[in-house]
Symmetry: C2
Subunit: 123 residues, 2 copies
Amino acid sequence: MARAPRRGPYICGIDAALDVVSGKWKGLILWELDTHGVRRFAELRRALPGVSEKMLTQHLREMEEDGLVHREVYAEVPPRVEYSLTGHGRTLNQALVPLGAWGTQRARREGFAAVEVAGDAGG
Amino acid sequence: MARAPRRGPYICGIDAALDVVSGKWKGLILWELDTHGVRRFAELRRALPGVSEKMLTQHLREMEEDGLVHREVYAEVPPRVEYSLTGHGRTLNQALVPLGAWGTQRARREGFAAVEVAGDAGG
DNA sequence: CGGTATCCTACACGATACTG
DNA sequence: CAGTATCGTGTAGGATACCG
């Protein structure tokens, strides 16, 4: 059970980017880490209401493997693991800003509840 | 079997936007229609190598319902149906440009084959 | 605290056949 | 040409239990 992302070959850039952000919680993880800089596992869990440990771990591992997320493990008791974005993770986030704004506009137009989360580009 | 997209409530704008572009061929359909302006069913089919009629129809219907695509039916024999982007479809495409560029860069970095398709932002 | 392991379900996607 | 109908499959995602 290693990888969800296909890792190419891709038909176009959108295809390649979507391969890396698809996953129910990845967008949120990106925003959360971008906003707070560094987050612990339990903090991310609280920030993503409804996520299971399994999915959070799995997404985090895939994003780490995709070079988006850095995982820092501290040899302490109780254990502490801190997650943060890599440079590529931050540039991806930048690239997602217009899309986030579009989505927020659309949700507003359609009358859907788009709960504002810290860092949301749509204001 | 009507809808794949959830139509909210969404957690943030990215969530809302991703709900509308997720689907194996939707990104490509967007690019194809944006590039050519108007495309017939069979033309789209040829532009998306490997897509089945079922998936193409399904994606097109969902995108129509999401207000992204306009479907024009001509009462002729043989039948003719033309697809084009709505205003919202075009703004979505604009919002996807940076993401496409990011994906192209990434594919290049990682050495994956990112086949250039007409309209690709990274090209 | 920060995970793994196991089992299960829903559904996105695909293949094939048929129709106005 | 532009679909619809039906069936089959892979896998993303979820529930629960256990571990260092």
